[in-house]
Symmetry: C2
Subunit: 498 residues, 2 copies
């Protein structure tokens, strides 16, 4: 059969065509073209992936051009130090240790000034300390004869490496000297173990420290004088921006609930980014902590003094997160399936909107206080306004009809009969009542935020209270004048009617 | 006068004693003894501080002995590699590059296996890649004449350093190759810039890579075979423990509210740590993420396969945090000053306790599913129980007396007259209603947690469904038998009575 097929392959080919079974149709063209097609597909896929990757990278650069600047700074610092190393005379002067300058630049130059200073000071301090300690140990070891030399060296490395590694687990050490501990172990081991004679070792240590100093000072110059990014300023901006986001998120979600309820399904398709601002607040704990850690190392810059109370920003952040938690609960309560009947919603919409807008304006004012670093006396007024709005809301709910007396509560079946008359079930009120009490809780947490901001204002000696007071009085006077004008106009209108 | 005082100092001394003004009493002994006293105080203070520091360090060690073991591991690995370096023959064989072995051990050996493997593979991969790339650049530069050499070297360092630094800002690169990018820049600069001839450079590069390989393999051996700490296992334990904490926290805070209300002031003094478990859940995001990042690098270990779905743990963590947010809101609602009257609380206490205990038992069962890595079919039953408890609670609230019809709501003043009869204000019910609706929200979020745990069970192919089903049927049978026995006993008792 196989032989027959091969002999009459032309006929067979046509018949298979007629059959529609195309398996044996292109046995020759197959492998090559398939490989080409697969290769083409692979290359196209690769190109697409690379293209997407580059596009994402481009977006990141466009989104925050300072990241690009940081990269150029790293490139520049490294090129400078490399070319210095490359010039033979200097290279010979500093010896093979010149590589430590390059290494320092690579490892130490960070995105923010604070992080760079932290790493620089840790590196210099740890290298010096470890160098001299190792020098001592090396001297003792070399004096004690060949049999003890290895023992002393090994034991000292073991003990100091273990102890220093352990110290990195202690929070207070970790916060200030985590990187330094690493460098300490590194330098100590390298110097202790190096087989040099003591006099040569001393030269080498001096050279190494001097190259590290060259590297660190270059890094400090580059990071502080070319488009500096200050960790402290970043933290400052982050906190005030998060506070604004929280305010918008609170405002937006209550607004959406009461105002656009009819068009709710439309807005579902394009969920407003503003509403999700509270999520930013909830997830920025780690960033805040690292910023605050690095900000401690920064010198006075811009509007910030050397001893600016950065720790207070963490407190503000914590109180904001506690508030954001409640906003999250509010959001899910609004999104839930159980909704109050339309008329109850309408009845309470005004007061709820008032509470949310007054709460968010308190938050915005607090954010402005941080942003401008000027005390605002109007915040007290706004807080009072918020409290009175909350009180109004409580009254509004209080004046909702009362429930019957306790005995009936404990035997609720007795009232189940009159289902035909249009009544409000307590069940119907639950969503609105929950919303209201969450908003009360939120307003009390906003007060806590305002308190932490006040503490910051005291600690950082924010100015502008006097000017602000004058400004605050201004609107009061305006309001009095306006109300008088209003009264006048009303009397004129009344007179006209007569 | 001064002279006289000095001359008759003995008499003067006695007189001043009589006066009671002891200022001039010890004018000579002053400076010395004061310095001694101050020094003593300083030393005592220093000793106290050191003592406290050591005590805290001791507590950390006792709290988690694995930290101590990690430190000993670092010390051991470093001692081994140092002694290898110290032995002259080996030292001469590997040349000055042997320091790279020490450096590798110091930098690469991390607390968890995953982190160590991540750093090792990054280091080896980046060093090799950068070494060969730099080798090529160096060759091109050396071929192009002295005037272009510095230019090509400088430009290549600038471009590659900038681009690689930028790549560290891209999330997908940062997650996998953050450390590698750093090492890439370091190696590339060092090799490109080194003033060696190409043939010597190749030898050097090979030596350096081989020393790094020695260092990394030592680290891998130490970290994987001496008391290994697996990031994956840590994440697994963390998630299930946090789930237990969340359950206890939910249970505890509802219990405390309803059961121990009379003794509330006593428990205020010693706030139960269990109640604050939700805070652990809220703050463990960063830890979870870094654990999951490192767990990806770990080989199969213990009960975990190589492709264990670690990312799913992050989803579970996120859903737990969203639930913890609600528990936080519940906690503050319970702590608030507005409390429902005692009789309403009593009326609802049973059902609320039932909801909270059924919710927390669902959470505990889910935690057990994770912990044991065995599917539990009883979880469906528990979820149903929770849903029915929630339904019961809703009914309980529904059967509370209904509010009058809409017109009266919109004119609430009309009912304000009958203040003398004992009525329930809606205001009084608010705290309980809020609590109930938060618990409803919490139960729906617990269902979301259960869903993510189910997804994990599917992805990680948890076993034991059949056995568990058999187990679940067992109690059912027991219950039927027990109820039959009970019936029999009752009939016997009834007969006895007759």
């Amino acid at each position: 059969m196989a032989h027959q097929e091969k002999a009459t392959s032309g006929v067979e080919w046509r018949i298979t065509l007629g059959d529609g079974s195309s398996k044996s149709l292109v046995p020759d063209a197959g492998p090559v073209s398939r490989i080409w097609a697969r290769l083409g597909g692979l290359i196209a896929g690769l190109v697409l992936k690379v293209w997407e990757f580059l596009k994402r990278a481009w977006d990141i650069g466009v989104d925050d051009p300072r990241k690009v600047i940081h990269c150029l700074k790293v490139g520049m610092a490294l090129t400078v130090v490399s070319l210095v190393y490359f010039m033979r005379p200097l290279y010979k002067g500093l010896g093979g240790n010149a590589m430590w300058a390059i290494m320092t630049v690579v490892v130490v130059l960070e995105n923010t000034v604070g992080a760079t200073i932290y790493k620089c000071s840790n590196r210099v301090f740890a290298t010096t300390l470890a160098g001299f300690l190792a020098f001592g140990v090396h001297w003792v070891a070399s004096q004690s004869g060949h049999e003890f030399e290895a023992l002393i060296t090994g034991a000292s490395v073991f003990i100091l490496a273990s102890a220093t590694t352990f110290s990195r687990f202690i929070p207070s050490v970790k916060a200030l000297f985590d990187y330094g501990a690493l460098i300490f172990i590194l330098t100590f081991s390298l110097v202790t173990v190096s087989g040099y004679r003591v006099d040569k070792l001393f030269d080498m240590a001096c050279q190494r420290i001097s190259t590290i100093l060259i590297g660190t000072s270059l890094c400090l110059l580059v990071t502080m004088f070319i488009c500096p990014i200050w960790a402290g300023e970043e933290l400052h901006i982050l906190i005030s921006r998060n506070m604004d986001k929280l305010a918008n998120s609170l405002d937006g979600c209550v607004d959406e609930h009461f105002d656009y309820n009819g068009e709710h399904k439309d807005s579902d398709k394009q969920p407003d980014k503003k509403l999700l601002g509270y999520k930013c607040v909830l997830s920025s704990k780690a960033t805040e902590e690292s910023m605050a850690k690095f900000a401690r190392w920064e010198p006075a810059h811009g509007r910030f003094n050397f001893k600016h109370p950065w720790q207070q920003y963490l407190k503000i952040g914590a109180s904001m997160r506690s508030c954001a938690c409640c906003v999250a609960a509010l959001n899910s309560c609004i999104d839930s399936e159980n909704q109050a009947p339309e008329f109850i919603k309408k009845h309470l919409s005004n007061i709820c909107l008032k509470v949310s807008s007054s709460s968010s304006s308190v938050l915005k004012e607090a954010a402005k206080t941080i942003k401008t670093m000027k005390r605002s006396s109007s915040i007290e007024f706004l807080v009072e306004e918020m409290s009175s709005a909350v009180q109004d809301m409580q009254n509004e709910i209080k004046y909702l009809p009362k429930l019957p007396s306790p005995p009936e509560v404990l035997h609720p079946e007795s009232i189940e009969t009159d289902d035909t008359t249009p009544t409000i079930h307590l069940m119907d009120v639950i969503p609105v009542v929950t919303l209201a009490s969450l908003m009360i809780e939120i307003s009390s947490r906003i007060q806590a935020i305002v308190e932490t901001v006040e503490e910051l204002a005291v600690l950082a000696k924010f100015k502008g209270e006097v000017q602000e007071k004058a400004k605050q009085n201004q609107p009061n006077i305006n309001r009095i004048v306006a109300s008088q004008l209003n009264d006048d106009q009303q009397t004129i209108k009344a007179l006209e009617r007569v």
